[in-house]
Every structure is written in structure tokens, then in C-alpha cells.
């Protein structure tokens, strides 16, 4: 069946090239049937890519080791769920997933906008052009359908990928990365067709939000995977590949805010074009980082030699986007100006500048080792203090702005109005800061500031809901009448939880480590950890060694924990050992007691590392609230739909 997979991919490539060439010609020469035919080619490419994906999934499910990809990424013992997830466990499968998601999104875009042919005329070739690159890679550079005589068993899967989170984390990230292609394609389509009105923004509003939501949730799931699986006690290490997902998310966050200024004031048209392009380009650049092998990363399982192709593609897309924006500058002039530096739009602008500054400093941190290696031949790395410094420098003011923005009116705000609206949030911040200093939380200035600012933001969000509910008479009516605004506030509350969780679990965590013989104990933050025994058992694909550690507080036992190690004899990298952490969730401080068996000697000596991470569970709770808020913001509003339908009713279809 590999031949069917190859043929389906070749068909996808042919269809996409046709959609690109015929679509461009049709849009240029205004040919209706040719434009429709190009749209159909884009739709059909989803079907053929789906067939190719089906062939690979079937081979993974059936242990068909005649497929080189299946033999390299799975083995007989691997459970079905992980076999199917091996689809995105390797480079060729990941590329196929990218093309599948992109062609699926493109088909949905064509179908949803089937009545707005004029707008779609240039969107189709842009989407096809991007998808053509991935189809080309799959057909001619990195095919998942290579075959060889089947070995008796496969090489297996990297142990760290054998985790339920890996079933969701990569696909969600891909849904996010690829989703950013859609607003980019509409933006470029609008510029190519010289239609720089708001229609492209209206058409892409939910696409941007959903891509941003998927990227956010995907990153949080990845962080939780790192927390429970990698076994170093943290959840975000500023790894270049983690940063690769964070950067487009930051750019998309800036875009989601600045687009409101364009909608409400008709300003920042150029800036929005730049941001939507930056978000897309960073998503492709992230893939270059993951695939190129130019950086050292915990994601090194996915390194390969296709990075050059991606770099070329990023450069080509950058030249295209920058050139087109430059050519269309006269069409993007704003008709209004910022009336005051103390206004909602000004707050959004400051938020944008901080988000982009944070994004670019992270980009510099990622690129610096690569550039020093290329220019000076030296290997230099950028470590946690660099990122932490800029996170504090830009992140803390961003946190504060999240509370200031909603309190300030559009256009301009007088000092009297500001005094009135800021009173309660300021009081909340001052009281919180004072109490925290009194309790001795000033051991970490960033932590203290984060909590003080959080109190300000929490009060500001609560006030917005209380005052709004009073004005409309009902909380549901309030949210129902303005889902974007109040969904946005719920997302702000999620970011607030995230900030509190990160500050608590990093600035105020406690760490102890020492070697223990059976019967010995370790004290940490009110807990006594008693090493009771060592156990070993063999499972289908690993040998599991676990220490039995009793955690007590005062005179009561709170948990029996089992930190240890797994030895995987069969993996693509040879025998591998993984850390298996053990965690007790403490309901008192919403934190965790986190145990790592750093080393287990043959004589049974356990080198135990224990961490107490207060409030860390707020980080994960923030994920659920973030998802809920995003869905509220995205939920269709019938009144607005009618208004937009009326607005574009007379436009040609």
C-alpha cells in the first residue's frame, strides 16, 4: 500500500501546484471558472492527503515494518495508541500531519467562504503556495512511504514519547501553527486584491483565535508532559523548541489585541499586516528550529537535514510578505490618529510593544548560539537568567497592563475618571503587597511584584464583571451581548492564574537533595520523607525500579510516593533509562511535593531530589480557564452575524 500513499501524495502535489498557478492566473485575469477549478483543486488536495495519511496510519496499526517509517518508530510491544501517535513521532509523519491539517483547514476555508469568490480569488493561490512546499518536501525530500525488506521487529519509540500527553500535545501544536497560515493567507490575499477593508479581518477572526487557543493549550499540555515525564522538576526550560511555540503565540496575542484597534478606530493597518505575517513566519521558523539540527534541544529526536529547505521557505515567505506590504502601503494608511496616550487603544499599543519586544528578545536568545557559531565559530549558549531577566522586564508590565487596559475608556480618559476606576484595584494591590511583605514574601522581588500586580488585575477583572452585570441586570446577558470582550476577560483571568502559579512555583519553591539508605529520612518544607524500600518489576517494554517513600507531615502520613526509573531495552536510540517522578498534590497550598530519584545505586542507595512547589497546580487550572474563555470569545454572536451579513450583502459574490 506504500505505492498508494506515494501516489496520493503526488496527486496532492499536482493539485496544489495547479491551485497555485491556475488560481493566480484566474485571480489576475478575473477568470471565474478557472478560479472555481483552482478552489476545487485545493478541496481535492485534502482528500488525497487524507488517503495518504490513512495509508500511514493503517501501516502503523498493522505493524507493517516494510514501511521504513513504521520500522524506525514503533515495535511489536508498543500499544496501539502510541503506534498511532508515532504518526507525528518522526519527521516524515510530522510533515504529513502538517500537510493534512493545512489542506483540511484550506478546504474548510474554501467551503465556508464559497459565496465570497472575490475575496477568495487570491487567498486560494496563497494557501496553495504554502501547501505546495510541504507536499514537495513529502514527495521529493522526506517521504513517509519509503520501503525496505521488513525486519522481524521495529526500533521502538523514544521512551519520553510514550506518555498519554504525547497523544495530544503535538497535534494541538500543529493545529495552532498551521492555523496561523489562514489569517496570513487572507491578509496577503487582501493585499494582492487591493481589498484592505475589514472583510479579511472578519473572515479570519475565529481562525486566529482558534489557532492561538490551540497553540496555548498545546504548550500547556507540553509543559505538563515535561513536568511529569522529563523529570527535572520544572515545566518550562526555555528550550529553543519550546520557545519556537511561544514566539508565534506571543505575536498572535499582539495581533488579537491590535486588530481590535483597527476594527474600532481604523488604525494600525500596517502593524496588523506585520503582526499576522510575523506570527505565520515564526510558526514556520519554529519548524525550521525543530527540524534543522542547528540547535541543541530536548526535542533532538526530531532533528534532521531538512532545515535548509525550511530556512529557504521562511526567507521566501518573508520577502513575499514584506515586499507586498511595502507595495500596498498607500492602501493601508490610517484615517484617524491616537487621540490620547491615556486611552484603551494606547494601552493596547503598549501591550503590543511589550509582547513584540518579549517575542524578539526570545528570538534573539534562540538565534544567538546559532549566529555566534556561524560568525565566530564559537559555541555560546543563552541560558535561563537571560530569559528570566526579559520575562521580568516585559512580562511584569504586561501583567499590570492586563489590569489597566479594561479600566481605561476608548479615545481618552480624564484623570478624574481614572482616579475613580483605579481606586479599588490600587487598594487591592497595596493591601496585598503590604500583607505579603509582612509575611516575608519579599525574598523574591519579581515574585512579590507578580503577586501585587495580580491583585490589581484580579480586582480590575472582578470590577468589570460586577459593574457590567449591574448595568445590564444579568451576568449571562452581559457575556452574551459581548462575548469577545468578556471571553477575553476570562482569558485574562487564566493568564493571571498562570502568572500566580509560575511565580509561586518558581520564586518560592524549596529544593532538597541527598543520598538515602533504606530507613533514612529527608526533611523539606514541613514534610518528612522516609525511604522505606526499593522494588523492581518487569513490564511489556520496560524494567521499572521504584523507591517507596512515605511522606509525613507532623504525625500523619500524607502520601506513599514511588519515584524511580524505567529501563527501556528497545528504542531507536538503543537502551534508554527514564526518570519516573512521583508527585503528591497538596490541597493546602495548591502545590506539589515532587520527588525525583536522581540515581539509584545497585546497593539500594537512593539519591533523592525533593521539591515543594507552591501553587503550581494553578498553572494547569489556568489551561482549563484559558480554553473556556477562548471558547466564549469565539462563540458566534447571532446579532453580529446579521450585522456583518447586511454589511457585505451588496458586495459581489
Amino acid at each position: 500500500m506504500a505505492a498508494l500513499g506515494r501516489a496520493a501524495l503526488l496527486l496532492s502535489f499536482g493539485l496544489l501546484v495547479y491551485a497555485l498557478v491556475a488560481g493566480s492566473f484566474a485571480a489576475w485575469k478575473r477568470r471565474r471558472r478557472l478560479a472555481l477549478s483552482a478552489q476545487n483543486a485545493l478541496l481535492a488536495s485534502f482528500g488525497t492527503t487524507l488517503v495518504a495519511a490513512g495509508v500511514l496510519w493503517a501501516a502503523l496499526a498493522r505493524h507493517d515494518f516494510s514501511f521504513v517509517y513504521v520500522a524506525e518508530h514503533t515495535n511489536i510491544q508498543l500499544p496501539l495508541g502510541y503506534r498511532l501517535s508515532a504518526f507525528w513521532g518522526g519527521q516524515e509523519g510530522s510533515l504529513l500531519l502538517w500537510l493534512l491539517v493545512l489542506s483540511g483547514y484550506a478546504a474548510l476555508v474554501v467551503w465556508l467562504n464559497r459565496r465570497t469568490r472575490e475575496l477568495m480569488a487570491w487567498v486560494v493561490p496563497v494557501l496553495a503556495g504554502i501547501a505546495t512546499f510541504f507536499a514537495f518536501m513529502l514527495c521529493f525530500v522526506s517521504s513517509p512511504f519509503g520501503t525496505a525488506p521488513a525486519p522481524a521487529d521495529g526500533a521502538g519509540m523514544v521512551p519520553s514519547l510514550q506518555n498519554p500527553y504525547m497523544l495530544a500535545h503535538p497535534p494541538l501544536l500543529y493545529l495552532g501553527y498551521v492555523g496561523l497560515t489562514i489569517p496570513f493567507a487572507f491578509a496577503m490575499g487582501a493585499l494582492l486584491s487591493r481589498r484592505t477593508d475589514e472583510r479579511w479581518l472578519v473572515a479570519t477572526r475565529r481562525w486566529t483565535l482558534s489557532a492561538w487557543m490551540f497553540l496555548g493549550v498545546g504548550q500547556l499540555i507540553g509543559a505538563h508532559w515535561a513536568y511529569v515525564e522529563i523529570g527535572w522538576g520544572g515545566y518550562y526550560a526555555w528550550d529553543p523548541v519550546e520557545n519556537a511555540a511561544l514566539m508565534p503565540w506571543l505575536a498572535a496575542t499582539a495581533f488579537l489585541h491590535s486588530v481590535m484597534i483597527q476594527e474600532k478606530r481604523g488604525m494600525l493597518k500596517v502593524w496588523n499586516m506585520v503582526l499576522v505575517s510575523l506570527a505565520f513566519l515564526l510558526s514556520i521558523f519554529g519548524t525550521f528550529l525543530t527540524r534543522s539540527g542547528v540547535i541543541n534541544s530536548i526535542h533532538s529526536f526530531s532533528q534532521s537535514s531538512i532545515g535548509g529547505w525550511f530556512l529557504g521557505f521562511v526567507v521566501a515567505c518573508t520577502v513575499f510578505a514584506v515586499g507586498l506590504i511595502y507595495l500596498r502601503l498607500p492602501l493601508l494608511r490610517a484615517r484617524t490618529k491616537l487621540e490620547s496616550l491615556v486611552s484603551r487603544e494606547a494601552a493596547f499599543l503598549y501591550n503590543n510593544l511589550l509582547l513584540v519586544a518579549l517575542c524578539l528578545t526570545i528570538l534573539w536568545g534562540v538565534m544567538y548560539p546559532v549566529l555566534t557559531q556561524a560568525v565566530r565559530g564559537e559555541t555560546r549558549s543563552v541560558s535561563k537568567p537571560y530569559y528570566d531577566f526579559f520575562l521580568h522586564t516585559f512580562g511584569l508590565p504586561l501583567l499590570l497592563l492586563m489590569g489597566i487596559g479594561p479600566l481605561v475608556a476608548w479615545r481618552r480618559a480624564s484623570l478624574r475618571a481614572l482616579g475613580k476606576t483605579f481606586l479599588i484595584p490600587l487598594a487591592a494591590a497595596v493591601v496585598t503587597g503590604g500583607v505579603l511583605i509582612g509575611l516575608g514574601f519579599n525574598s523574591s522581588l519579581p515574585g512579590l511584584l507578580a503577586y501585587t500586580f495580580s491583585a490589581f488585575v484580579a480586582a480590575s477583572i472582578a470590577l468589570e464583571f460586577v459593574r457590567g452585570t449591574r448595568a445590564t441586570g444579568s451576568l449571562f446577558r452581559l457575556i452574551g451581548k459581548n462575548r469577545r470582550r468578556y471571553g477575553g476577560y476570562i482569558v485574562h483571568a487564566a493568564i493571571l492564574l498562570l502568572a500566580i502559579g509560575i511565580a509561586g512555583s518558581s520564586a518560592y519553591q524549596t529544593v532538597r537533595e541527598r543520598g538515602l539508605h533504606v530507613g533514612q529520612s529527608l526533611e523539606i518544607a514541613g514534610y518528612t520523607l522516609h525511604y522505606e524500600a526499593l522494588q523492581t518489576r518487569k513490564t511489556a517494554n520496560a524494567v521499572e525500579t521504584r523507591a517507596v517513600v512515605k511522606a509525613t507531615r507532623g504525625n500523619s502520613t500524607v502520601a506513599i510516593l514511588h519515584p524511580g526509573k524505567n529501563l527501556y531495552p528497545v528504542t531507536p536510540l538503543g537502551p534508554q533509562t527514564s526518570n519516573e517522578v512521583s508527585i503528591y498534590h497538596d490541597p493546602r497550598n495548591l502545590g506539589d511535593l515532587f520527588l525525583i530519584a536522581d540515581q539509584i545505586d545497585p546497593n539500594g542507595t537512593l539519591y533523592l531530589k525533593a521539591l515543594v512547589k507552591p501553587l503550581v497546580n494553578l498553572v494547569w487550572a489556568a489551561g482549563f480557564l484559558f480554553l473556556f474563555g477562548s471558547l466564549v470569545a469565539m462563540w458566534p454572536d447571532a446579532v453580529e452575524q446579521r450585522r456583518l451579513a447586511e454589511r457585505y450583502a451588496a458586495a459581489p459574490a
Binding site: 500500500m1 496527486l11 478575473r30 476608548w410 481618552r412 475618571a417 457590567g468 448595568a471
Partner: protein, 108 residues
């Protein structure tokens, strides 16, 4: 292998037919020109967007005033210009509509 080739050939035939469908369904069209908005249509859309923006700004100002975010004095200062810009956009749209009706009535 043979089955794979047959399936691939079937798939290829299906997609070719699907791509050619606009030409097969409409071999001799009255017009094969993709609709394009005229300058007048562009202007109408701009005016509608201006109108919607002005009305939304007024609504937002009213709401902010009711929730206490905008003081009475600020409200009085801002509401006038916003009403005027909304009225100007509405008036321009009405004039265009009337002109269109007149053109239709006179058969032009």
C-alpha cells in the same frame, strides 16, 4: 501493488473530474468574468464600515458611562463628535441609496 495502482488511478480520475467540474458543468458560459467590486462599491463598504465603527463607539461610550468608567463630563465631551460622525456616515449612505434608486427609476 496492483490493487494500490488501481486505487491510485481511480483517485486520480476522481480528482481530475472534480477539478474540471466548473468547465464540464458550464462549457459555454454567458460570462466567465470573476465579479469585482467597482469603485462605488468600495466606497459604499468604506462608508458602512465607518457607520458601524461610529455606532459601535457610541454604544461603547454609553456602556462605559453607565458602568462609571466614563464621567458625566467626559461623556458630554465625547458623545457629540461621535454622534456627528455616525450621522455623517448614515447621511452619506442614504444619499448613495437615493442616487441609486433614481438611476434605477430613470432606467440608467
Amino acid at each position: 501493488m496492483t490493487l494500490a495502482l488501481v486505487l491510485a488511478a481511480g483517485l486520480a480520475l476522481a480528482v481530475v473530474l472534480f477539478v474540471a467540474r466548473p468547465f464540464l458543468r458550464d462549457p459555454t458560459p454567458v460570462s466567465d468574468v470573476l465579479d469585482e467590486p467597482s469603485e462605488l462599491e468600495h466606497r459604499r463598504l468604506e462608508l458602512v464600515e465607518e457607520r458601524d465603527r461610529a455606532l459601535a463607539a457610541l454604544k461603547e461610550l454609553e456602556f462605559d458611562h453607565r458602568t462609571g468608567k466614563v464621567t458625566d463630563e467626559d461623556y458630554r465631551q465625547q458623545v457629540g463628535p461621535l454622534r456627528r460622525s455616525a450621522a455623517a456616515a448614515l447621511r452619506a449612505l442614504e444619499l448613495r441609496t437615493e442616487a441609486k434608486h433614481e438611476r434605477i427609476a430613470s432606467g440608467r
